[in-house]
Point group: C2
């Protein structure tokens, strides 16, 4: 039985801001795409075939150490709210919201390693680490890959590498990404320059909250854009280098802001804190923006008695399904805004 | 010697919100205009004549009990900042800012009774009381009038009553006013209806902070518009009745707001409080608006640990000259905004 109420009581460890550069980098994520040779890609399968794949991969997952004492979730048995909850926790993709029959999710106990079955690929393994720590996320997901691989007939071509449903994943099947907080670059209007130059260097950076170009909360996801023609180690190394560059740009932008417009910045940061401490109704969008400003304030040392971990935690828990799961009932948008404000006050008032 | 720094340490008693209806009525004021028969009206006097009037009225003022242990201020000796300071304290009129030579101000110790010499009229006596208490302000100013009158050759016509420089003051020379906080009527958009109907009933109501029609902070001044053809007692009685009506309208508007849009109101009030508690830079205009929202919140019981007196005090002390006098130096607008925010945080954090 899936129990969101229980999961909610133990926030994912990768939110705790214990990793390197965690004032700027929220988390590192490594994802690996694999498929079974004996089956068609998931998007052309009927339910029967999806069910076979789910059973086969599930049997393998059940036998590996990673998932001992973890959770096995049959997506088809979940309510829309539960699926939304898992999406907000970064554990499933948006695709799983709408297609859930014969889809499965396996989680380890610490909630930092997971396996989606029958998403775009038959297997999508992912691992998280706190801050800028791609190596450790890579190690975790590789351990799972090494354990699962021998138990399954993984589709691999000597010429192309791992075969995947979408050509952009062919080769290593590896996507490495960091979730990065760039308020300095957004405020100094240098962000567009950065987005352009990153694109030219075979990486992708896009707004994280909100779809498309919307830079809600100034959070961005930086990831590799190709998986073919490079080794896993190269991909990981290059993304790390790129992330370090972006972190340094952001740090410089923060220094300039703090140096040239200190009282303006202090005012902006403390106002955001004041609103979060006292507002009685806050939308998700406004909350992201206010938490972002406070997170910048903590990063540059304006605010000292709030931890980055608390703010990371808020960035997940202020979303609609989390609020409803915490209160144990469905709520309309207006009621959620009130409960969101109440929750934030409680977290910051500790 | 005029010493603003000393005055600033003892806020005027009439700000303390001890009077009736003080959640809605900040203060009551009664002003009396008198002129000397032996001199021309002040606006046609040369400096020599103004100086004679100043000496004559000053001698009389020096002999009455009211001003024992009070202050005597020669406006011409003050800096612009000091004059601005007295204006912000509601002790002198805007006219005194620009014409200060041979103008004088006498204050009693409690700063609730004052006399301007050579303003529009030779004598302008005024008294304040906290909340809705016109009777006590009237009594205080009458006592001064009764003490000064016999010592001076006051211009009085059996046909017109007291003669004044402006015809609107002829008769009793009496202007009664209350400073009234009407956020409920402003938010419910009923304020214009009120402004119109008050005008039809021989009273005047206008925005208090900011000139003309600007309703900054939702503070209004309600006063009588004629002084001729009615006894002092009638004028006082009618204004009191009108004020009670306005207070009841405001109370009803607050009840409706609180009943129909409680969570919206709570959010607005607490956000204003959060900004005042944490902002690092606040303009006078924004501060008035935020203090107004918090004052409404205290009035309807949303906020319980802030006193109306503290907010009344802020409404005077956040103004530019007060901030500069408190810090003991001149400051530009940007610096004042920072100091204003700091001062407000200090007052609310007590």
């Amino acid at each position: 039985m899936f129990d969101a109420e229980q999961m909610i009581r133990t926030p994912a460890a990768w939110l705790d801001a214990s990793g390197e550069e965690s004032e700027i980098v929220m988390s590192s994520r490594v994802r690996v795409a694999r498929n079974l040779m004996s089956h068609r890609f998931a998007h052309v399968c009927d339910n029967e075939e999806l069910s076979e794949i789910l059973a086969k991969v599930g049997a393998a997952a059940g036998a590996v150490d990673t998932f001992a004492n973890g959770r096995t979730i049959a997506m088809g048995e979940l309510s829309t709210l539960d699926r939304q909850f898992l999406l907000e926790r970064h554990l499933v993709s948006r695709e799983f919201l709408f297609n859930s029959t014969n889809r499965g999710l396996w989680l380890n106990r610490a909630e930092d390693v997971s396996l989606m079955i029958n998403e775009e690929d038959h297997l999508r393994m992912q691992a998280f680490a706190s801050g800028l720590d791609i190596a450790s996320a890579h190690e975790k997901v590789s351990r799972l890959d090494d354990a699962l691989g021998p138990r399954l007939d993984i589709a691999f071509s000597d010429r192309f590498g791992y075969l995947t449903a979408c050509p952009t994943n062919v080769g290593t099947g590896l996507r490495v990404s960091v979730l990065i907080h760039l308020p300095g670059l957004v405020h100094s209007r240098e962000i567009n320059k950065l987005l352009e130059s990153v694109g030219k260097l075979n990486h992708t950076i896009r707004g994280f909250f909100g779809e498309g170009s919307d830079m809600m909360g100034n959070f961005f996801q930086l990831s590799n854009s190709t998986t073919l023609g490079a080794t896993e180690e190269d991909i990981v190394k290059r993304l790390k280098e790129m992330a370090v560059k972006v972190v340094n740009f952001e740090r410089k932008a923060r220094d300039v802001l703090f140096g040239k417009a200190r009282s303006l910045l202090e005012d902006k940061v403390w106002r955001a804190y004041g609103l979060l401490r006292y507002a009685r109704s806050v939308s998700t969008k406004e909350a992201l923006s206010l938490v972002s400003a406070v997170r910048l304030g903590v990063g540059v040392g304006i605010i000292r008695d709030v931890s980055v971990g608390t703010l990371n935690h808020l960035l997940v828990y202020i979303h609609p399904a989390h609020l409803q799961k915490m209160r144990g009932r469905t709520m309309d948008a207006q009621e959620r805004d009130v409960v969101r404000a109440e929750f934030i006050r409680g977290e910051l008032g500790r």
